[in-house]
């Protein structure tokens, strides 16, 4: 048995020096993102460095945890202790990054450079490499990330192996109207981009690996299919800014989540976890609006 059995054991982590502070500052490019769509902050520049999903096309690959939000490896299990997130406005008048839902993910495995124009062709993935954490696939989700700007309006299906080792094919998944690089390409209907993850078949609890990808209606562009495990939700309520002309009030908010006290229990950070955020701008573009914050983690004795 691992974990922390008492509040004292939890608190002793800090007293015993078993803690680490991990900072991030990600700045989406100046290309506008679209209201309602989710955006993969791991692809943005800043700290840590941008992730381009750059490896052999259609071959399963893993990301280097050193290029995610850095939480040093330990000899004993690591746990999420605290999250602080703020979203700076792109300019002194910018407000479009407010009310932003955020999700911290562990990026497990990805299949890059899927051709979203190859209508009717089944693009089969090389699964020589598999999951090295959450290996039973339970809770593992699929998300599609644009690796290049797309035209939009397409649709596709995905064949995958569920956590029950059965092969499934998703229903038709639609792409939003258009996606800049880094945007998530999954919607519940054409031109409606509100779903971060691809819908799984009824009763399926997660994904072990992805078999193939078939474009039904050409969408344009390239994308990576990424297997992720969600770790935590947060919310940037108000953009951080101070106008230089009237009214010159300051605006801003820090979202803080403290595990145990403000959320039951904690979430384990697996070995080799690549941590990153996705965010959903509801008020407009997230372009050039830095997402900053820190993660405090504890590890067991």
């Amino acid at each position: 048995m691992g974990g922390f059995r008492t509040v004292k054991a939890w608190a002793d982590s800090e007293e015993d020096g078993r803690f680490w502070l991990s900072f991030f500052r990600k700045v989406p490019a100046s290309t506008a993102t679209i209201a309602g769509q989710w955006f993969d902050y791991s692809t943005a520049s800043g700290v840590p460095v941008p992730n381009y999903y750059a490896s052999s096309p259609l071959v399963a690959a893993r990301l280097d945890p050193l290029n995610g939000i850095f939480v040093p490896a330990q000899d004993t299990p690591r746990w999420l202790k605290k999250l602080v997130v703020m979203s700076a406005a792109a300019s002194v008048t910018g407000t479009t990054n407010q009310n932003q839902a955020l999700m911290l993910l562990d990026y497990l495995l990805y299949y890059p450079f899927i051709d979203l124009d190859a209508a009717g062709e089944e693009q089969v993935f090389d699964n020589t490499l598999g999951l090295d954490r959450y290996t039973d696939g339970v809770g593992v989700q699929m998300m599609m990330v644009a690796q290049a700007p797309t035209v939009g309006g397409g649709s596709y299906t995905v064949k995958y192996i569920g956590s029950d080792d059965v092969e499934y094919t998703t229903g038709i998944v639609y792409c939003p109207a258009a996606q800049p690089s880094g945007a998530l390409c999954s919607a519940v209907a054409n031109a409606a981009g509100i779903s971060p993850f691809l819908p799984l078949n009824a009763g399926v609890r997660g994904v072990k690996r992805v078999v193939s990808f078939t474009v039904n209606v050409a969408n344009g562009g390239l994308a990576a299919l990424v297997l992720v495990k969600s770790i935590e939700m947060s919310y940037a309520r108000e953009e951080c800014r101070r106008p230089t002309s009237s009214p010159t009030e300051s605006y801003g908010d820090a979202a803080e989540i403290e595990r145990i006290r403000s959320r039951a229990g904690s979430r384990k950070l697996e070995d080799n976890a690549f941590l990153g955020w996705i965010g959903r701008g509801v008020a407009g573009s997230l372009a050039s609006a830095p997402l900053v914050g820190y993660i405090e983690s504890f590890w067991e004795q």
Binding site: E14, D16, V47, F70, Q74, A254
Partner: protein, 301 residues
């Protein structure tokens, strides 16, 4: 000791006078760079600007009697213990927000000057390892919880090397090395933590430790090699600190308060001899002469 109950805390504060309220300030007299951490000890304020005097590569212990000036938190209280109850802070600046302010207890520092900044071969640090005695320098027994970071006292005029080795002893007295190569910024401004900023292999604010290590009892060595060697007459400082608490500051002029009684773990401890200092993370480029105001209250029992 400490506070066995809320009643005991209230009694110590209201009946026994075991309480102190403080307001500290600093003026960030040099403009900072976006995405960098800053050691605010180099700036004047309620404590004067520190010169970090001493012999290059020789550890200088610091406590609340440090000649450069330290936060006067009321002296020793042993066998009682002293704890922060809350803290708040704000910064007024045309640019730089949002920020993170972090309070640390600086156990000591190592001045790095001349050829020890520009050299590309290993540098050996002279330091008596932190032990578990009643001496103020041993206030974190065997260095438990201590972290290290570099800062800039005088900016090098060119360069940007990699720190390919960083040697230290852990709390068990075993010699260890930082598990990653750490990139150092070219010409970091005064105050800047050179291993911060938006670039690859910047691990800020603290130098990563080997897996399982919970602190640093001895700073042994470092090597700047690869990249471009620092040039000119720069001066760096290697700090040994215990992080105590952090406060997110969303925008200019917003006073943000962190409450520690109900946090978990709660009541960050101020050890006898603590040399309280400030670090700041700049999302944007903080404007020159930006004032920081920090308030705090602590009690002992």
């Amino acid at each position: 000791m400490g506070f066995p109950s809320q009643d005991a805390l209230i009694n110590d504060v209201t009946e026994n006078g075991q309480f102190q309220y403080d307001i500290r300030f600093k003026t960030i007299s040099t403009a900072q760079v976006a995405a960098f951490w800053t050691n605010l000890g180099v700036f004047a304020g309620s404590e004067p600007a520190s010169a970090y005097a001493g012999t290059s590569l020789t550890f200088v212990p610091t406590d609340d009697t440090w000649a450069d000036g330290a936060f006067q938190h009321g002296g020793d209280v042993s066998a009682m213990t002293k704890h922060f109850l809350y803290a708040g802070a704000n910064i007024v600046a045309a640019a730089g927000a949002p920020w993170f302010l972090m309070a640390v207890d600086q156990v000591g520092y190592v001045p790095i000057t001349g050829a020890d900044v520009t050299g590309t071969t290993g540098r050996t640090i002279t330091m008596t390892p932190i032990a578990a005695t009643a001496a103020k320098v041993d206030r974190y027994p065997n260095g438990v919880g201590l972290r290290a970071f570099f800062s800039t006292e005088v900016a090098p005029t060119l360069g940007g090397p990699n720190m390919t080795a960083f040697g230290y002893k852990n709390v068990a007295g075993a010699s260890k090395t930082c598990p990653v190569t750490v990139g150092m910024a070219a010409t970091p401004v005064i105050g800047a933590v050179p291993h911060s900023g938006a670039a690859a292999t910047r691990y800020a604010p603290f130098i990563p430790l080997a897996a399982g290590d919970t602190g640093i009892s001895d700073l042994e060595s470092f090597t700047f090699s690869g990249g471009t060697a620092y040039g000119g007459t720069g001066q760096l400082v290697l700090h040994l600190v215990k992080p105590l608490f952090g406060i997110p500051l969303p925008a200019s002029g917003i006073h943000q308060v962190a409450e520690f009684v109900n946090a978990l773990p709660n009541l960050a401890r101020i050890r006898d001899g603590a040399c309280l200092q400030w670090m700041l993370m700049n999302t944007g480029a903080t404007t020159a002469n930006a004032p920081l105001l920090a308030e705090s209250a602590h009690a002992w029992g």
